[in-house]
């Protein structure tokens, strides 16, 4: 498969949506890209970083989304086109800077890509970031096809410069990660020249790059939006397909365009149902919408997550002269379309069928039932869990045992990363709070101050290495400054594993694969004057003892669990740490003295329960050979041998 930098204008390539967006940025001639990884946005930055050197621009993984956005803004202020991309949660992280940036305007084109995750497949929450565009007056585009993903991104830079404001692109998982045809455009080979023009001169002037005179600038911003609306009215990213007079008009955007099209085709209603697909989402192309509203008395709005279009279009209708027809709206408020989760063509079919009072059976009920059963019979049910050999499983085993031994009802405040899975059996349900990046330590800092109200429970705040740099440091410092009581456990697996092993400040490697200074979390924490212990989580005994010792002390303690992510290790070393097998003569299985500890409680996928034999065994195709199970087996029945 060709890289996103293939220089073949006019040819067509298969790109996932994120690559298409990255390609759009290349065609726009960006000089700067910065991001923090987050599914489903990660591949935008990954594909950009992979060609940055060759294409003579700069790309970085930043410490968090806010810093990524600020670095991109810095580039824009110095005349370099810049892009930042993030998942929906990142938009929350950047919102303060964003709210102020819209007041000032920008330098060179600056584009923010937000990838939403309907159904929260890879996210803690489900959130519709289109709302922030309306909230903060930001021009917003949303691609409905892979081609549009590229074209819109490219155009967004021109638009940003024309309007002198940041422009935003919203994508969703099914655009970001699905693959489609993209016809390529030209790659500009321009020399980037950076200079910050707004320097202080001898005559006192105000810089452009600060939110001052903000009320006045707010008014100006509204004027920019009015201009954006004018530009959007004839935009080729909005189109209508269907009859001149329709029984039903669907208004849709993004990935729902394809669902709607498929639904109408499946119902063979092409002559009765029209679809207005919008690509310019905010501000809405009011005249275009008003024109199409007259096509039908019934309007169905199909969009994912919030009723953003639905509400905004109803606002437009409210302003229409009283004499004009006021159609009936169907959508999330009427209950025809879910206001949560991903949509699919079936859901749209159902909504249309309900509104138009037709019966439609996509397939015989019998067949549907069978189809649903098939995967259950051939696919073993699997809980979300850590990989075999994952250091986190060992860490949470030690945490669990330490908390039980300690016996004071201690608990874990968790954070965002692979280790969030410790909410469930993967981590023995040890994580008892989990919200957003950095919140584990923040919540712990509050809990740790409740001593005056009789609170005696030990609190263990858990964060990953990347999360530590991202947002945990302020909470840690807060805890130290305010003399709180908790133990911060940093799960240092030397990678941003959850999103695909991106480097971070602790790894000594940059996004462009250049070696860099390692920011040592050990030294950093020690410099804050708190005790820092480093454990190898595979050494269960020492890890448990270290945790118990930390919990027995007041104040803030840091314990670093250092063990490389197994996938990273395996990729590099290409062989297991140990060769592991079960000695069936020693294995007690279900008998008193074990009760299947390894397969029932520890739960590494490399272990199997041989029901017939009544013994555990190693699944050699899955076992990563970490050898940890050998240390938990009460009978020494699991044998690890050096490879």
């Amino acid at each position: 498969m060709a890289g996103i930098d293939i220089d073949a204008p006019g040819t067509t390539e298969l790109f996932i949506g994120n690559e298409a967006i990255a390609r759009g940025a290349l065609e726009a001639g960006i000089g700067f890209a910065a991001a923090y990884p987050g599914t489903p946005s990660t591949e935008i930055m990954e594909s950009l970083a992979s060609v940055a050197k060759k294409m003579n621009f700069y790309a970085e993984w930043s410490v968090n989304e806010k810093v990524a956005f600020e670095t991109a803004a810095g580039a824009s202020f110095a005349g370099i086109r810049a892009i930042t991309a993030m998942k929906q949660n990142g938009v929350n992280v950047i919102s303060d800077f964003l709210a102020n940036l819209v007041v000032s305007g920008i330098g060179a084109g600056l584009v923010l890509v937000s990838c939403d995750d309907p159904s929260a497949i890879s996210s803690s929450n489900e959130q519709d970031t289109r709302n922030i565009a309306k909230w903060l007056d930001i021009p917003l585009l949303e691609p409905g096809t892979f081609q549009e993903a590229k074209d819109m991104t490219k155009w967004a830079f021109d638009l940003a410069e024309e309007l002198d404001t940041i422009c935003m692109i919203r994508s969703v998982t099914r655009i970001a990660h699905a693959r489609g045809n993209v016809t390529l455009g030209e790659l500009p080979r321009k020399e980037h020249k950076a200079h910050f023009d707004e320097i202080a001169s001898f005559t006192p002037t105000l810089t452009k790059f600060a939110p001052v005179l903000s009320a006045w600038k707010h008014q100006q911003l509204h004027a920019k939006l009015d201009k954006a609306q004018e530009i959007f009215e004839p935009s080729p990213f909005n189109w209508y397909r269907g009859p001149d007079k329709a029984e039903l008009l669907i208004i849709t955007c993004g990935s729902c365009w394809l669902y709607s099209l498929e639904a109408v085709n499946a119902l063979k209603l092409e002559s009765k149902v029209g679809i207005l697909k919008l690509g310019t989402i905010w501000p809405l192309p009011q005249k275009l919408i008003e024109k199409h509203l007259s096509k039908s008395q019934k309007i169905l709005v199909v969009e994912e997550i919030d009723p953003f279009l639905e509400g905004s279009i109803k606002e437009l209708v409210a302003d229409l002269p009283p004499a004009s027809p006021h159609p009936t709206f169907y959508g999330k408020r009427s209950g025809h379309i879910n206001a949560f989760g991903e949509l699919n063509p079936d859901m749209v079919i159902e909504a249309i069928a309900r509104i138009m009072d037709i019966t439609y059976e996509s397939r015989p009920a019998e067949y549907s039932k069978k189809a649903e059963e098939v995967p259950l019979t051939y696919m073993p049910p699997r809980l979300m869990t850590f990989c075999s050999g994952c250091p986190h499983r060992a860490t949470f085993w030690a945490i669990k045992n330490a908390l039980r031994l300690d016996g004071r009802d201690g608990f874990v405040t968790g954070d965002i990363g692979c280790y969030s899975m410790a909410l469930g059996p993967a981590g023995f349900c040890q994580v008892r709070t989990m919200y957003c990046m950095g919140a584990g330590a923040g919540i712990a800092s509050g809990l740790g101050k409740l001593g005056q109200f009789g609170f005696k429970q030990p609190v263990l705040a858990v964060c990953g290495d990347s999360t530590f740099f991202h947002a945990t440091i302020p909470a840690l410092i807060n805890g130290i400054y305010n003399q709180s009581n908790f133990t911060l456990i940093i799960l240092d697996n030397n990678a941003t594993a959850m999103t695909g092993f991106q480097p971070h400040p602790g790894t000594g490697m940059t996004a462009m694969e250049e070696p860099t200074k390692v920011v040592s979390m050990d030294t950093l924490c020690a410099s804050l004057g708190v005790p820092v212990e480093v454990c190898d989580p595979f050494d269960l005994k020492n890890t448990t003892e270290t945790l118990l010792k930390a919990m027995s002390k007041d104040g803030i303690k840091v314990v670093i669990m250092r063990r490389e992510c197994e996938l990273v290790r395996a990729r590099r070393e290409k062989k297991p740490l140990y060769k592991v097998h079960v000695d069936p003569d020693k294995c007690l299985g279900e008998a008193c003295g074990c009760d299947r500890l390894c397969t029932r409680v520890f739960g590494c996928l490399g272990l199997e329960w041989d029901k017939e034999a009544g013994k555990a065994k190693i699944d050699e195709t899955v076992c990563a050979g970490c050898g940890v199970c050998a240390d938990i087996c009460p009978q020494g029945a699991i044998i690890k041998e050096a490879v």
Partner: protein, 370 residues
């Protein structure tokens, strides 16, 4: 009184959380779920078995005294104040070092050293205090290691966890030193031999210590706060006169009023009927004030009698008769403990017919409750 064998969950609710656990360690260390830690029996995970050895050997789950007595002594439980007695006398170690480092007369250590030397046993499961004076089960296999275990901790010691830790294929001949609760658990193991654990027939010698109560409920924190524990060489509660708890260092002795200590008496001990470790081969206590530096010794089995004979023949032990009056006092104290415990149990359950773990015949019960 529920005679059924149950699992770890019931052990937790009926014994540990119910305040009956003596921390004997019989449930701990034999599987991955139950361990002892700093004075608590801890359940680390959910075990799904509805019947388990943890529950079975716990001295505070139903104990059929007749069955156990039948196994150990070949006869039903007598109900006598001091249990099955062959002989009672006073004894002390002839070996000066053992006597000096021993708690009272050093009889326990002296007897064990003979048993080791003569190959009657190869290891002894004892109690050893770590630097911070936390008692732990320990297998002593030499005179040196026996001496390291001399002297007592008044805190509960999970002695039997060390037994459960032994590899199941071990053939090492063993002695065990324990309080009445430990000894009761070992007797239950002998009566219902464990599966997948070390062979209980390996245990050739059980030495019981006389016991009124142990000290728990934050007693260790009390010690930590008031003494430099690593420097402490001995704890003692000398009987009349005094009523003190004494803490010795190499150069010093500090006394605390016993009344100040009483608040730490292990609640679980108030439900214990056994003062003299009735299922041991030999039970050993202090000689009391009149015979400071001596031990009261109760010999119960042939194995016990043999060992005494040997120790005397080897001039390791010297003995003298116990005055009749002392035996009478001992019997009274033992009977009182039984009566008090039964009443405490009835007060706890609120039901004369629910005696928790106590499996005594009607006639014996009637006598005790009269």
């Amino acid at each position: 009184m529920d005679m059924k064998v149950k699992g770890s969950k019931e052990l937790l609710t009926e014994v540990i959380d119910a305040g009956l656990c003596t921390l004997c360690g019989a449930c701990a260390g034999g599987c991955p779920y139950l361990v002892s830690y700093k004075g608590r029996a801890v359940l680390l995970d959910d075990c799904t078995l509805s019947e388990g050895q943890c529950y079975r050997y716990c001295p505070r789950t139903y104990t059929d005294m007749d069955a156990v007595s039948q196994q150990v002594f070949g006869m039903p439980y007598s109900g006598d104040e001091l249990g099955a007695v062959k002989e009672i006398f006073l004894a002390r170690s002839v070996d000066k070092e053992i006597h000096e480092r021993g708690q009272d007369g050093g009889t326990v250590t002296a007897l064990l050293s003979v048993a080791l030397a003569e190959g009657i046993i190869e290891g002894v499961i004892e109690t050893k205090m770590d630097d911070d004076k936390i008692p732990q089960g320990f297998v002593a296999r030499s005179r040196e290691e026996l001496l390291e275990c001399s002297g007592v901790s008044y805190e509960p010691s999970p002695v039997l966890e060390a037994l459960n830790h032994l590899p199941r294929e071990s053939t090492e001949k063993l002695g065990i030193v324990g309080l009445p609760c430990h000894v009761a658990a070992v007797a239950k193991m002998k009566t219902y031999p464990p599966q997948n654990r070390v062979n209980i027939d390996n245990v050739k010698l059980v030495v019981g210590l006389l016991c009124g109560w142990s000290l728990a409920n934050g007693f260790h924190q009390f010690l930590q706060q008031n003494f430099d524990l690593p420097r402490v060489t001995k704890f003692d509660i000398p009987h009349h006169p005094g009523h003190t708890f004494d803490v010795y260092t190499k150069s010093d002795k500090e006394s605390v009023e016993l009344d100040e200590i009483r608040q730490y008496i292990n609640n679980a001990c108030s439900y214990c009927l056994d003062m003299t470790a009735e299922f041991a081969d030999i039970s050993i206590g202090s000689g009391r004030a009149k015979f400071k530096g001596w031990n009261t010794v109760i010999v119960r089995t042939d194995a016990g009698a043999e060992l005494i004979k040997l120790a005397k023949a080897k001039h390791v032990l010297e003995t003298q008769p116990t005055p009749v009056e002392s035996v009478t006092n001992l019997k009274r104290a033992a009977l009182n403990k039984k009566k008090r415990a039964l009443n405490n149990i009835i007060a706890k359950t609120g039901d004369k017919n629910d005696l928790l773990y106590v499996g005594l015949r009607e006639d014996i019960l009637d006598n005790l409750l009269a």
